[in-house]
Amino acid sequence: MFHPAPRQLQVIKAAVFVAALLPLARLVWFGFADRLSANPIEFITRSTGDWTLYFLCLTLAVTPLRRLLQWPWLIKLRRMLGLFCFFYAVLHFTTFLWFDHFFDIGEMWRDVLKRPFIAVGFTAFVLLIPLAATSTNAMVRRLGGKRWQWLHRLIYVIAPLGILHFWWMKAGKHDFAEPILFGVIVAILLGARLYWRFLRNKTPPLRAAPR
């Protein structure tokens, strides 16, 4: 069983941090190399949306993987993965607000209210904000572990909303292969939690081990 020493963990965290910035670096590089396709704005919107979903899945995968691999230290990466999910969501939303609406907030609102697929994506984004805002140790302490945990269960709502947003976007093209794949992944990640909870409830609580 792999268990990194504190120094090693620092290295792993730094590596994950750099890796998580690569999708952004790729966009910048493509921008200078004129490789963002004939419709760069669409390319950026798609790419940032995709990476929001990838990081959402990665964040949700931490708990099941910890258990399956017996790697409890993975929890130390979860906050960073979650914040990168938010980071790409911010970029995705900014592309929409900037390029689609040119920062016309009124027009953007009308779009959000009129179109379910945008409304769903927008809701998911807004729900991510309190999670990002309470991600620091100080905020965990201020809220208290129990309350903090309850708040962060919002991710179980956000994840299906994100998939629905993607699904509706692709519905126009009748092309469900990718949304189905994401849907299955998120269903497995959330289903695993339900399954373990079910197992826990079935087995009687452990009595204190005799010393």
């Binding site: 396709s37 004939a38 419709n39 760069p40 704005i41 669409e42 900037w98 390029f99 689609d100 040119f102 779009d111 009129k114 179109r115 379910p116 697929f117 509706w168 976007m169 519905a171 126009g172 093209k173 009748h174 092309d175 292969a177």
Partner: protein, 267 residues
């Protein structure tokens, strides 16, 4: 392969033509995949020659035309048209061809002919995208006969001074510039004249989103996005607002085809 055509000065738009690279590397042609880069990537397997188009249905002179017959049917013209995709982007393309009406007159529709239906090639060996169930293949599009007779409706055989690239619908397609791009069927193998409105591919797939007419109309939104504005490929950048979409894509001369019709209903 070069294709010689005389510019038709009646059909020139002031807009700058889209770069050849953009027009040939970014488009929808689901027979080769649903990504807009797919047609350019995978259309190499299409064999645009030899090719025949079967013309049938409610006409006096059913016939099968080969490419040579199609090219010689009427003098080739170059016409620069705006193209507006239903997805909210647009291009400006110098097409080569002639008015579809020339072909229609040649085959002599009878009194029953009210619509014209275009069927695209559907050959799995040439078109890798046919394996996916996104649409009911073959791709079928259609027009009302009076729409098809409008001089703007073009039978396209080339673009940018050359024969059509495979990814843009080689060797023969239609171009209906006042309608959303998907109405302009590509790689056509059959043209049929009918009494009843053709069952067109996108209308069959999602009737609430894609009407039979699908005229460019900034006042009728797509259920999932606005059609009021568009982004001109290669021109509108990060620092420009999207441009306003024009009624009938700016081709006001077609308005008389729809007098008395509620275009909100017949979208």
């Amino acid at each position: 392969q070069k294709l010689v055509a005389k510019p038709n000065s009646a059909y020139v738009v002031v807009d700058k033509p889209t770069a050849y690279k953009d027009a040939t590397s970014y488009n929808n042609f689901y027979e080769f995949g649903t990504d807009k880069a797919d047609p350019a990537k995978y259309a190499g397997t299409l064999k645009p020659s030899p090719w025949t188009v079967s013309i049938e249905g409610e006409i006096n002179k059913p016939q099968v035309l080969d490419l040579d017959g199609l090219r010689k049917l009427a003098p080739l013209e170059e016409r620069i048209y705006r193209l507006r995709c239903v997805e909210g982007w647009s291009m400006v393309i110098p097409w080569i061809g002639y008015s579809l009406s020339a072909l229609i007159r040649k085959v002599e529709p009878n009194g029953n002919a009210k619509y014209i239906e275009f069927t695209s090639l559907a050959d799995k060996r040439q078109m890798p995208g046919l394996g996916s169930p996104v649409l009911d293949w073959p791709y079928v599009e259609g027009l009302r006969l009076d729409e098809a007779m409008h001089p703007l409706a073009l039978l396209g055989l080339g673009m940018y001074g050359e024969v059509l690239p495979n990814q843009n619908g080689a060797p023969v397609r239609v171009v209906v510039p006042w309608k959303y791009g998907f109405k302009s069927a590509k790689s056509i193998v059959k043209i049929r004249f009918t009494r009843d409105q053709p069952k067109t591919a996108w209308n069959q797939a999602a009737a609430a989103e894609y009407g039979f007419y699908s005229n460019v109309n900034p006042q009728v939104d797509h259920p999932r996005w606005s059609q009021a504005s568009e982004r001109r490929i290669g021109e509108d950048s990060f620092f420009t607002r999207k441009r306003k979409t024009l009624m009938f894509n700016g081709y006001a001369e077609v308005a008389s085809l729809y007098t008395g019709m509620d275009l909100q209903k017949f979208f």
